[in-house]
Amino acid sequence: MKFRISRYNPDVDSEPYMQEFDIEVSRGMMLRDALLEVKRQDETFNFRHSCGEGVCGSDGVNVNGTNKLACITAIADLKEPVEVRPFPGRPIIRDLVVDMSQFYQQYKAVDPWLVREDPMPEQEILQSPEDRDKLDGLYECIMCGCCSTSCPSFWWNPEKFHGPQALLSAWRFLADSRDQATDERLDKLEGPYKLFRCHTIMNCVEVCPKGLNPTQAIGNIKNLMLKKAI
């Protein structure tokens, strides 16, 4: 099967180019297996990967125009030639490896941790199963970056717009019955960019490899703000 892979080494290349590889595919093969095959043919090829089962979030790449996690993308589902590029909109470090620091900074900017003002009980803070259910679809985020790097609003304003991943994380804590910083969290999201740059294009929902819905989370934050304003 033909693969066209984006290559770039800042030591020698002035800009990225596409290189073709012929990879023998086998049944059940994932895109990560194919990329490992490429590395067997050419050890100068670089990409991030680790767990191989879709939980560590290392191997997000752009495949035939869509952001995907390589380790859970079946080769059988891809159109030939398979074009593999780094995430769009991020500075390329080398080959498929991009600089994700802005993405991580946006995550850190939403205070992604549980805030509790009350003294801690001796045992667990109680939470009903119904309240816990509200975290399903939120806490599972693996921070792969597929969503934010497919978001045009994030492409244009990565330093000001939090992006879908960070906003999903913001809602994960707003939705947690144990958290006691709702007002502070909402205040921090005010302004024209951080939250409100989302134009519900919904690329994030389409690409999320874990089936999460950042657009809905963003909508929920907006509703909560509205409620608070009234």
Binding site: G28, T44, F47, A74, I93, Q127
Partner: protein, 584 residues
């Protein structure tokens, strides 16, 4: 060019559960801590832990830390150190509450308390009825814990060196550890980090085997660094094969499936664990279940066209329970086996999973080595988590005790570092720095030679064939020789990529060196132990031999020497659990 240097009070290498729970202890203190990780912290392999963390909270049925302790000692096949085990089982309870307070989204019971499920090897009242001790966040507990710990470290403004690879420890002539030489992967620049205390929290070495549940990054870096610094590795022959990896692929299917009521069947549809463990059945200890599966397949009762696996049935639990408690494995089954576990059984076979052995430590995380007739602490060096062997797992680890181990002893190490901080840094030892630099610069060599890939493939296959599940004298002694020969070949390996920028070929070469050091420790220790105990199963010595072998083994890199030390059978406050025949 002068080597860049940074100074911190403490250096933590590894950002999984152990490293992050050590680091978070430094929040709100004046001590400066650096965390070095070769991947962004949430990519660490703790993220892949599924089933949960054990603590006798008694949320579902009666429980007690003392029962947890008994189960752990028995599970260890009496090789675990009972002082450390008592400490861990007592500490489990506040540790899980602390995690919950830190935001971990545990699943909940109707009364609002943390959900607990049954896991293998758990009992009430010292070997009685099945207990439910494993605290779970669906089947993504490791992910939930790792992310929460990272979040707490972000809150604490922990200084992270993300995507820095640790090359070697720096030590002075007295053997004290002064920090480490690390490599910034993005730029290819080395950096010397000086620290008064260094914590190795680098995880396991599952990549020594070809079929493994372990991630690409689990290459035993910290264990190999310790070996090269003259520290022996303890109990390395005890490698756990998890009973239920996806057949032919190795991805993990949590024990929680059986905890929720799933069970194993052979080609005749027989629930075969009833024959091997009449009481605990599918929730017997992992070594017992793995051996049973291998026996079924060897005796011709395996499933599939090649009869090379068994089936894990859970569809009878109903779609609702599966979606609520086991959503992650349903997803994995669909992706990697093409099977919807809510409809059909999953094809499974044991997969390399966890190293019980590691860097020997006491219960404060301090690395300890034999000295004279006793032991001494290696000044400035700590280890925690899978990289360490405080010896709570002995010859076989219970499911749910791994997350517990990393959290309890990561925390203990962090606190001990803080409470015993030296006032000053010891003077740097330039010879040791030069040595570490040489092991990096060695990869600048050009010309013809072997590739990392060729040698790695051969090594991992050799490990699987000669140090895996089947361990006879003949197979293993041949294996040790083969692995030593492969280690020699390391000298002939040459890279074709000499670029500085994000050169993963160079990282993989450094990792292969580490894998080889761990692999030979594993194989040599396995060859030395002439008995069967826990995960170490020898057809030529089928019985446990407490008179001669109830002792820990120690492997030294220098001369591939094996030594032994006694098991600590005396707990901290309670009576010792004397060795008994182990039946489930």
């Amino acid at each position: 060019m002068a080597l860049n240097k940074r100074r911190f009070d403490a250096l933590i290498i590894g950002a999984g559960g152990a490293g992050l729970n050590a680091a978070v202890q430094f929040a709100n203190t004046n001590a400066r801590v650096a965390v070095v990780s070769k991947v962004f912290p949430t990519r660490s392999h703790t993220v892949a832990a599924q089933g949960g963390v054990n603590a006798a909270l008694a949320n579902v049925m009666p429980d007690n830390w003392h029962w947890h302790m008994f189960d752990t000692v028995k599970g260890s096949d009496y090789l675990g150190d009972q002082d450390s085990i008592e400490y861990m089982c007592r500490e489990a309870i506040p540790t899980v509450y602390e995690l919950e307070h830190n935001g971990v989204p545990f699943s909940r019971l109707d009364n609002g308390k943390i959900y607990q499920r049954a896991f293998g090897g758990q009992s009430q009242n010292f070997g009685g009825a099945q207990a439910a001790r494993t605290c779970a966040a669906a089947d993504r507990t490791g992910h939930a814990i790792l992310h929460s710990l990272y979040q707490q470290n972000v809150r604490a403004r922990t200084h992270f060196f993300d995507e820095y690879f640790a090359i070697d420890l720096i030590r002075d002539n007295e053997g004290a550890i002064l920090g480490a030489l690390v490599l910034e992967i993005e730029t290819g620049e080395p950096l010397l980090i000086e620290a008064k205390a260094t914590v190795l929290a680098t995880g396991g070495c599952g990549q020594v085997f070809r079929t493994t549940s372990n991630a690409h990054i689990n290459t035993g870096d910290g264990m190999a660094m310790a070996l090269r610094a003259g520290v022996p590795l303890m109990d390395m022959e005890f490698y756990q094969f998890h009973p239920t990896g996806i057949a032919g692929k190795g991805m993990l299917i949590t024990e929680g499936v059986r905890g929720e009521g799933g069970y194993l069947i052979n080609k005749d549809g027989e629930r075969f664990m009833e024959r091997y463990a009449p009481n605990a059945k599918d929730l017997a200890s992992r070594d017992v279940v793995s051996r049973a599966i291998v026996t079924e397949v060897k005796e011709g009762r395996g499933c599939g066209p090649n009869g090379d696996h068994v089936l894990l049935k859970l569809d009878h639990l109903g779609e609702e329970i599966i979606q609520k408690r086991l959503p992650g494995i349903r997803e994995s089954g669909k992706i990697f086996a093409g099977v919807d576990a809510a409809v059909e059984p999953l094809p499974v076979f044991p997969t390399a999973h966890y190293i019980m052995g590691g860097i020997p430590t006491d219960r404060y995380g301090r690395v300890i080595v034999p000295h004279g007739s006793g032991e001494e602490v290696v000044p400035g060096l700590y280890a925690a988590g899978e990289a360490a062997c405080v010896s709570v797992h002995g010859a076989n680890r219970l499911g749910g005790n791994s997350l517990l181990d990393i959290l309890v002893f990561g925390r203990a190490a962090g606190l001990h570092v803080l409470d015993n901080m030296e006032e000053h840094h010891r003077p740097m030892n330039e010879d040791s720095v030069d040595q570490a630099m040489q092991s990096l610069q060695r990869w600048d060599r050009k010309g013809d030679g072997l590739s990392v890939r060729e040698l790695r493939d051969e090594f991992r296959k050799t490990m699987e064939d000669h140090a895996g599940v089947f361990r006879t004298e003949e197979i293993m002694s041949e294996g040790v020789e083969k692995i030593k020969a492969l280690r020699k070949k390391m000298d002939d390996v040459v890279l074709t990529d000499h670029s500085k920028v994000f050169n993963t070929a160079r990282i993989e070469a450094l990792e292969l060196q580490n894998l080889m050091d761990c692999g030979i420790a594993l194989a040599a220790s396995a060859l030395a132990r002439k008995e069967s105990r826990g995960a170490h199963s020898r057809p030529d010595y089928p019985d446990r031999n407490d008179a001669e072998w109830m002792k820990h083994s120690l492997y030294y890199l220098e001369g591939d020497r094996i030594d032994f030390k006694p098991v600590q059978t005396k707990p901290l406050t309670v009576d010792s659990f004397p060795p008994k025949e182990r039946v489930y």
